[in-house]
Symmetry: C4
Subunit: 223 residues, 4 copies
């Protein structure tokens, strides 16, 4: 914010990009609730039963809201260390937001078909994994770009730290890619992996990097 | 913002967390209107009648919008006194936002079934109370955590004041928990309690604490 | 923002209240588009015809978006002159936001019934006018409160200027109240009045007051 | 932000106008996902087939999200060079937001009818082009106004640069106007033009102007 050094030419400070990103992430997360949908109760059916039968919707809501929360954490972990954005970062960030804004759709697909079992459940889960893998890849791409343009980073960050972030950023797309295959064996196993990945990032270096806030190692890695 | 003392290591200033939280609260409150739904008028029905028959939707909208407004007041009452957030606060705050973003769903459930009477009305009201109780418990958890980490608070706040906020933060989850039981006696009685709780917080020490803004006792307590 | 004088005790600066208000207004305005709904084309119907037949939806969208835009202008016209908010202002502002967030509902009602003609069109228009009248009354209430608490205003504002704003703030609720009656004569005449009121505020002292930004007379009045 | 020169009388700084604009753009872009809609699978139909058959929805989502992203870039390209807004800029900006908030509707129309072929596809595409042309015209109008009121610009911007921006701002409305005609020959050709225009702006002077951030030529032109 108050960096004593001038930002590189042809760049923009990050505050507006962060404001737009925070907006899209907040809206996308909150729109998830729309797809939970109304509980329909038949003539002789019990409401509590109908509410409980709706469990895939709640599960999908919690998983996707958590993922968006972790994307927000990872995004700030990155842009806390970036002091200026140039055109490739602006447009890769718009691609990231396009994918984040899309999350409610695969979420609703997952909620609709996970309890169907069979091939439909596998395909819905694979589509969900595919979208998440793409999001992870955009983060990897951005970290790779930053290893090449370390002048865009705040001064306290060393090139070795950026390279470390790049390596860590591979975890998320690789794990999500593997769940595309796992989906055809067991969609529920994918849910377990999603939750495990969330716990890993919530406990792991990505979150730690965020809260360190640039005063220490920029270990933030991808999703 | 301009605290003369450095923030503790491994922490983050609160401004971004507040921006995301304000976004989710504003969106969740405004999404409530989507569930009011279209008025359907039959062949020989009068529109005014149909509009008036829709009263549970308006009631649910007003109750939930007010609750979200009070959560916003309580949230600022807390983070006005917090000068830095660490990982447990970031993730408990994401849990809070997950629940706040979920509010439109129990609200629509309440609107749909409160006028049905009988068991369905009780269950819908109990579910609503349950979600609100969880939100209150997250606030209590956060105040409890802050009593253990007073270095995260702004300097003018004394440990005694934080403990007082913790005690006050129990009001909301305890009252909402009690309405889970009351729902099975009279759902309408729950609405009365919800309104009473809103009035209590609007008039009471929670709101007073907010407007004092850290210059006086941090009495802010939970929802 | 950087007033050299301390804010009064028991108050809060206005920045957060404005951020929440901007959020609710932006969301409410943008949600209006959801109610325009899909165009349905029958077997032998032409799409262009179906799109044009949907005109009440576009009209209602434009009228309500414009009204929310003017509310935003009036809101900033007020809070540019307010340097601190106390509890009554916070809660009257939440009431304002509750009503602004509700606007998509009467808008959709208007779009649905204005072209029906007869009593339904009158009732839908009257409901729309009623909600807008309530919004105007909250502004009037706030200006009245500010005439009693001029210490909450920025220093350059004189009590006479606040009283002038209070008088101007009556225009909007009085005009909207009159359209409740007009709706039962001619709903379309109400639309003409809505547009006229928008032009009046866009050209009139309210907008002028906004752009003057506190350096001149605070003529901002209501909606 | 910290311009050493006073802003002209009867004007407002741009920060709030930008905050509202960012909000509407973020919400409008994210609401696009709602119209993608649920995938319906018949008895003997395959889910993957149904998902793939839904391609017009994804295409329309990507095109419109990208367009809103570029509008955001162009908007900041303009307001980075504007140091104060007066009433015509405020109200033309509200008109811009009204149109941006409307984008989900023509987007859904395009998604619904593009694969129909025939006249309906042409009309849906022409309506889409028409709305985009209007958005481009508002930018042109604003640049024209700024050539007449260069005192509203930051000091480093020369009148020649503003005139250059005005000339560039004609690209977008002229191209979109031409696609209204092209739509009746081939709707798919319009999609190609939309994508080409997006690439032009992403690579071209508009984006370059943004990232230069006022330190160089203000080449930002329209959409």
């Amino acid at each position: 914010m108050t960096a004593p050094h001038p930002r590189p030419a042809q760049t923009l400070t990050t505050s507006r990009l962060e404001a737009l990103s925070d907006g899209v992430m907040a809206i996308s997360a909150t729109l998830l609730v729309i797809d939970i949908g109304r509980v329909r109760v038949g003539e002789h059916e019990k409401l509590l039963r109908a509410i409980l039968d709706n469990w895939p919707s709640y599960l999908a809501y919690v998983v996707s809201f958590t993922v968006i929360g972790l994307i927000w954490v990872a995004h700030h972990g990155m842009f806390d260390r970036v002091r200026a954005v140039d055109r490739p970062l602006i447009f890769s960030n718009l691609a990231l937001l396009l994918l984040v804004g899309f999350i409610p759709w695969p979420t609703q697909l997952l909620a609709q078909f996970i309890s169907d079992g069979g091939r439909n459940a596998s395909i819905a889960t694979a589509v969900y994994s595919f979208v998440m893998m793409l999001i992870g890849l955009v983060f990897t791409l951005q970290w790779w770009y930053l290893t090449r343009h370390t002048d865009l980073m705040v001064e306290s960050v060393t090139p070795a730290q950026v390279r470390r972030s790049l390596r860590l950023s591979w975890v998320s797309p690789v794990v999500y890619a593997s769940t595309i295959a796992i989906a055809f064996v067991s969609p529920y196993a994918c849910i377990v992996v999603y939750v495990g990945l969330a716990v890993y990032f919530a406990r792991g270096p990505s979150a730690r990097a965020l809260v360190v806030g640039g005063q220490s190692a920029p270990e933030s890695g991808g999703l």
